[in-house]
């Protein structure tokens, strides 16, 4: 369960550069694909591998590729979604800044499979230093004949560019990202048409997450069937989990899917347990959007089965008692954490990031933030809890893009599992004011 694929060579000195990357097996998949495979055969291997989108939705990547329209004379595009901005998620930044060529090789192989001759990496504007790392690596790849015209003599040509965003969470949604790449505000599009038919500049487009694309060369190297043996059930392969919050060892971990949740949280190979000997209160297992689970429900399903780090096991019990693997943004909260205060922060975030197109999201997120502020200020009522529940239920599923759901789920799950904490703040308004999180900063001057 400790198999490393994506991060196997991350500690090799100089691995950010082309030379060290190639010395450690880099660009072998590209040679294999270009010299011995047809584009559709690459897609077939990705299908066989069972690789699922690593950005959060978990949609089978090979299937997504197979939807791409191929009208005669119309260019197709591959766009990498490197707009990593789901709170709790920092795996793509880590991967790109340490192993830029892993993404670039994945982009070339995937573009070959899709028949794209121009591809883009849409990176968060805030990560401009990574933008420059990628640009340097791309320049190296051009220099070595791995990008540009007639790559490795195969007849396949590809231009690859990095495109910076400007600071907008919504641009992680693929149609908003496409709008943004076209130089517009990041307002999601109504689907259909799906990007595979009408994407950037009206052309067939596939948008994939960084980690998804970086996994493709490994699938080509080992074969889809072999890759599918890693992991558990329909959760094939390895997954990067970015762990943060009140744990001893925050960081990015590559796990084989199916690792027991308890081992991930408490083993010194991973999170190393809760900081300062505190008890576990709650876990947000897959980025801020997924339902929060109380510690006990995170470790064991409602049926008492040990929870595994896989798409299926984390979702076991539906939203009544389960959650989602999501993007792998793993946020741990200890016994001193106020769920309500944390929820206010998340809801404020979604209100700030709502693009404003759909009224349920635009108005609902702001309304929920205001209501949660009443709890913080100590004048909330019991009716406010029911009102919160009502509002979130009227956002979910009623918006163009999933940001509405992402804003609703944290509220619903917090009330579902921690209603007593909301009630306590109503009965005892001062108790929330006593909650402080800053004692963790060792040398902070009391104010």
């Amino acid at each position: 369960m400790s198999r490393k694929i994506l991060l196997k060579h991350i500690d090799v000195p100089g691995i950010r550069g082309l030379k060290a990357y190639r010395e450690n097996g880099g660009y072998q998949a590209l040679e294999k694909a270009l010299k011995s495979m047809k584009p559709d055969e690459v897609t077939e291997e990705v299908k066989k591998s069972g690789l699922r989108g690593r950005g959060g939705a978990g949609f089978p990547a090979g299937m997504k590729w197979s939807f791409i329209a191929k009208p005669e004379g119309v260019p197709r595009y591959l766009v990498c979604n490197a707009d990593e901005s789901e709170p709790g998620t920092f795996k793509d930044r880590y991967l790109m800044s340490h192993l830029p060529h892993a993404l670039i090789e994945g982009m070339i192989v995937s573009s070959f499979a899709l028949g794209a001759n121009t591809s883009y990496i849409y990176i968060r504007g805030e990560m401009l230093y990574v933008y420059h790392i990628l640009e340097e690596a791309i320049a190296e790849a051009y220099e070595a004949g791995l990008l540009g015209k007639n790559i490795l003599g195969s007849g396949f040509s590809l231009d690859l560019y990095v495109h910076p965003g400007g600071g907008a969470y919504i641009c992680g949604e693929e149609t908003a990202l496409i709008e943004s790449l076209e130089g517009k505000r990041g307002n999601p599009r109504i689907k259909p048409p799906f990007p595979a038919v009408k994407g950037v500049w009206g052309c067939p487009t596939v948008v994939n997450n960084v980690e998804t694309i970086a996994s493709v060369p490994h699938i080509v190297n080992m074969g889809g069937d072999e890759y599918a043996k890693i992991g558990i059930g329909k959760s094939t392969g390895t997954k990067l989990i970015s762990a943060c919050g009140h744990i001893n060892k925050p960081g990015v971990y590559e796990i084989e899917l199916g690792l027991p949740a308890e081992e991930f949280l408490y083993s010194d190979n991973y999170c190393g347990g809760i900081r300062n000997g505190k008890k576990l209160k709650a876990v947000v297992a897959g980025g801020s959007s997924v339902p929060i689970l109380p510690g006990e429900l995170f470790l064991k399903t409602a049926n008492g089965e040990p929870r595994l780090m896989s798409y299926e096991s984390l979702a076991d019990g539906g939203f009544a008692s389960g959650t989602m693997l999501g993007s792998g943004g793993f946020i741990v909260m200890d016994e001193d954490t106020s769920i309500v205060k944390n929820l206010w922060n998340f809801t404020r975030f979604y209100h700030h990031e709502s693009c404003g197109q759909c009224s349920p999201c635009r108005e609902g997120t702001g309304w929920m933030e205001k209501l949660l502020h009443k709890f913080l200020d100590g004048h909330a009522t019991i009716e406010d809890i029911d009102l919160l529940w009502d509002i979130q239920s009227k956002i979910e599923g009623k918006t163009i893009c999933p940001l509405g759901d992402a804003a609703a789920w944290p509220v619903a799950s917090a009330i579902r599992h921690f209603r007593s904490e909301f009630e306590e703040y109503v009965k005892n308004p001062h108790s929330i004011k006593d909650v402080k999180h800053y004692f963790r900063i060792n040398n902070l001057v009391e104010q």
């Binding site: 990560m127 400007g166 944390n342 900063i441």
Partner: protein
């Protein structure tokens, strides 16, 4: 105001060359796509913010209407639409950082610089902004200055970092000035 209108806005030769190179990355006729990278470069060239004359100049360069630039610049949070200090401090305030004390880092900087979030210090050196998750949750609390991530913050660390920038006294931008070349 540094520029009265767009005729006074002149990009450096390096910036102009880089912009020309970036525009070529998009299909012919789709030069509007270059708007975000060009706005980053414009902000780095002209004191860390986008004035109306600068945005008008960008619309001219990209052959689009000024409103197409305004609506984009006002949508994305990295673009400052009013003057800022030489050094913009962007403290992450979202969930994971906040769980680790981001709120108090903000309060500490406010007290230290005698400003509130969104304001600029009286010497024009620092502007304090709070921003959303910067994908640095494992090293929380954190802040960004220019393109540099300052992580695992403590108040002592904040003191040292801000002293450093004050001593350098130079204008820091997201798009690093030494990267503005074709």
């Amino acid at each position: 105001m540094r520029h009265k209108d767009k005729s006074e806005v002149v990009f450096s030769d390096d910036a102009s060359a880089l912009i020309a190179k970036i525009i070529k990355r998009y299909p012919v006729g789709k030069q509007k796509s270059a708007i975000l990278p060009v706005l980053h470069i414009a902000q780095a060239e002209f004191d860390g913010w986008l004035s109306v004359p600068v945005m008008d100049k960008v619309s001219e360069i990209l052959s689009i209407q000024p409103i197409e630039v305004y609506e984009v610049a006002s949508f994305y949070t990295m673009f400052n639409l009013k003057p800022v200090g030489k050094c913009v401090i962007e403290v992450c305030r979202t969930g994971p950082c906040w769980l680790m004390g981001a709120e108090d880092i903000v309060k500490y900087i406010e007290k230290k610089l005698n400003i509130k979030e969104g304001q600029t210090s009286s010497d024009g050196m620092f502007t304090l902004k709070t921003v959303e998750c910067l994908a640095s949750c494992g090293t929380a609390p954190m802040m960004q200055i220019g393109q540099t991530y300052h992580e695992n913050l403590t108040t002592n660390k904040v003191d040292d970092i801000l002293d450093d920038y004050r001593n350098q006294g130079v204008c820091i931008s997201h798009f690093a000035k030494d990267k503005i070349k074709a």
